[in-house]
Symmetry: C2
C-alpha cells in the first residue's frame, strides 16, 4: 500500500472563513460563533433546495469578503453538497465568475474540498481558492428519507441534518491557519445497511483514516489538541473510540465530534448533528475562532461521509463510507 | 479575472487506458477501438445501476492492469458519474483499497478527473492515479427522464446517453500521452430550460472555456490536430462553432465532438451520444489509439457537463453548465 498522507511544503493558509446556520443550530454552543444566524430556515426562498443553495453562495461570498478579496481575485471554488448532482454547489458557483471544481464526498466534503484546494495552492497552480459546503435539514430529509410534511417518526439512532454552510478562503500566503498535511481516505464498508444509523456506518471509515494518519506520520494523538470528526454523532463517536482502542490507539482524551457538540439538547436530535454542513459550520466558526484566538494550536480534522443513495439502499446494498483528514495548525 | 489555465511542468502522462461499451456503442466507428465490448448491457447484473458500477470498476481495474501495475501501487482514484451521490464511482472505489476522491462535473467528469489527478501528480504528491467515469443509458433515463419500461417518445433534439466507461492511468513518468495544461471552466448559464436539449445548454460553456484557453495560452486552433468536445451532439456542435465564430475564433476546421462520432447511424440517436461515458469511451479508446499510433500529436479535450437535477428543473431553474479542457500531447 502506498502512503495516503500528503504533506504541504508551502502550507496553504486559511486566511478567512464564513458561516451561516439555522435557528436550531444557533441555539447550541456553536451559535455564538456563527457569522450569520438565520431567523428563517427558508432564507427568504420558496423551496428548501433554493435556501440551501443561497446559504452556500452566502458563505462563498462571505469567505471572499472576509479575506478582503474581490471575486475576480479568486482562482477557484471547490465545493459540493448532499443534493442530487450537487446542485447547491453548482448553482451557487453560477453566481461567481470563478473556475469551479465540483466534488462529492457526502459529509466528508469539507475535508475533501480543503485537501483538493490546498493541493492546487501548494503546487503553485493558484493563489486563492474557496473550499465550501453546506446542507439543509429539510432538503436532506425530503431527498434521503421522507418529506417533512409527512411527519414521520425518527428512530433513536438517527441524526439531525444540520441547516448551515461554511466556507474557507485558502491562500498561498497570509496570516491564519496553516494546512500542513492531508490523509486521503479509502472507501470502507463494514456492511451496515441501516440508513438511519450513519454514525455506525461511518465510524469504521474514520477509524481507518485516523489509524492510517498516525501510522504514516509517526505521530501520536497527544500531538493534537483535538482530533475532530465530522458528524459521527454520539453513538458513532463511541464506536470510533472503541474501534481505535481495539487497534491500540487511544484517542478518547482529545476526540470531539462536530455532530455531538453542535446541538445543545442532544436528546431532541437523538445522536446529534450530521450533514455536510455540520463539520463545515463547526470548523469554520467555533474551531476557527478557537484556533485564531483561543489557544488551540493543532487539530486533526476528519470529516466523514456515507456514500449511499436511496437507489443503492433500495437495491439492498450496504453503506460504503469515507473519511478524509487534514492537519490544521496555528 | 485571474487565469483559468494551469500548466503542468513535469507533464503527467497517461500510460494506459481501459474502456468498455454497450452493444449499440460498439456498432459505431468507435467500436473496434473499445477494449471490452458488452454483449449484454446488463453486464450480468440485476439492475442497470449495478451494471454501470461494474463497468466503472472494470475500467479502473483495466487501466491499472494495462499499465502493468498492481492495485497497491496506485495512489488515488479520481472518479465520478451521473447517478445521484455518484454511487457508481463510490461503489466501484469500494472494490479497490486505494484513496478515493469523488468529483462531480456531470459529463465533464473525464476532463475534471484528469485535471485533478494531473495536479496531484505534477505537484509531486503522488505517482499513479486513475481518472475514470462512465454512464449507462438505462440508469440515466430512469433517473433523469422516464424509466425505459414506459416507452416514452424522445424529442428530436435529444441525445442518447452512452452505455460505457473509460479510465486513464496517469503517472508521474513513463511513455504515453503527456498532459501539459488544463483550463478549468466556470459555470455558464444561457437560460436554456429544455432538459432534452443538452447540446444547446452546454455549447456556451464549451465556448467560454475554449475562448479562455486560446486567449490565455496565446495559441491558435491550428496548433491542435483536434479540438474535441465531450457530448454536445450534432446540434450543440453547430451552436459551439457558431458561438466561437461570432467571437472571432474559427474552430470548424479541426473540431470534432465525441457525441457526434460515437454512433454510426445518427438518425436513430437524434443528436448523437451524451453522458459522462461518451467522452470517456471516445478519449480512452479511439483518441488514445490515434495518438499512440495514428499520428495525432496534439489535442484539446474539452468535456462539457450540464449541472442540473430533476429537482432544479422541476423548480423552474435553467441549466447551468461547465466545460473543463485538458491539453494532451504525444
Amino acid at each position: 500500500m502506498k502512503h495516503q498522507t500528503i504533506y504541504f511544503k508551502k502550507c496553504p493558509t486559511i486566511i478567512a472563513t464564513s458561516t451561516i446556520a439555522g435557528t436550531k443550530e444557533c441555539q447550541g454552543i456553536i451559535g455564538r460563533y456563527v457569522e450569520t444566524a438565520l431567523s428563517d430556515d427558508m432564507f427568504g426562498e420558496s423551496t428548501y433546495e433554493k435556501a440551501e443553495c443561497k446559504m452556500l453562495s452566502h458563505v462563498i461570498d462571505g469567505a471572499i469578503t472576509n479575506a478582503g478579496l474581490k471575486r475576480h481575485e479568486v482562482d477557484m471554488i471547490v465545493s459540493g453538497d448532499l443534493l442530487n448532482q450537487i446542485v447547491s454547489a453548482s448553482f451557487a458557483a453560477r453566481d461567481f465568475s470563478v473556475p469551479f471544481l465540483g466534488v462529492y464526498g457526502a459529509c466528508s466534503t469539507m475535508a475533501e474540498s480543503i485537501a483538493v484546494a490546498s493541493t492546487f495552492i501548494d503546487g503553485g497552480y493558484c493563489d486563492y481558492a474557496v473550499a465550501a459546503t453546506g446542507s439543509h435539514f429539510a432538503s436532506a430529509e425530503r431527498q434521503y428519507r421522507y418529506p417533512l410534511e409527512l411527519g414521520c417518526t425518527r428512530p433513536p439512532q438517527s441524526q439531525w441534518t444540520v441547516t448551515g454552510a461554511g466556507g474557507a478562503l485558502i491562500a498561498s500566503k497570509g496570516d491564519g491557519i496553516k494546512i500542513t498535511a492531508a490523509t486521503l481516505g479509502k472507501v470502507v464498508d463494514y456492511g451496515i445497511t441501516d440508513v438511519n444509523n450513519m454514525g455506525a456506518a461511518m465510524a469504521p471509515a474514520a477509524t481507518d483514516t485516523i489509524l492510517t494518519h498516525f501510522r504514516e506520520t509517526g505521530e501520536s494523538p497527544e500531538k493534537y489538541d483535538l482530533i475532530v470528526t465530522g458528524d459521527l454523532g454520539a453513538l458513532g463517536s463511541r464506536i470510533l473510540k472503541d474501534l481505535c482502542w481495539e487497534k491500540g490507539l487511544d484517542i478518547s482524551e482529545n476526540h470531539i465530534d462536530c455532530g455531538e457538540i453542535i446541538y445543545n439538547v442532544i436528546e431532541d436530535e437523538f445522536q446529534g448533528g450530521s450533514g455536510a454542513g455540520c463539520s463545515a459550520v463547526v470548523l469554520n466558526s467555533y474551531l476557527h475562532s478557537k484556533m485564531m484566538t483561543g489557544g488551540l494550536k493543532r487539530i486533526l480534522f476528519v470529516a466523514t461521509g456515507a456514500l449511499l443513495s436511496t437507489v443503492t439502499s433500495g437495491q439492498g446494498e450496504s453503506i460504503p463510507c469515507i473519511a478524509h483528514a487534514v492537519v490544521l495548525e496555528r
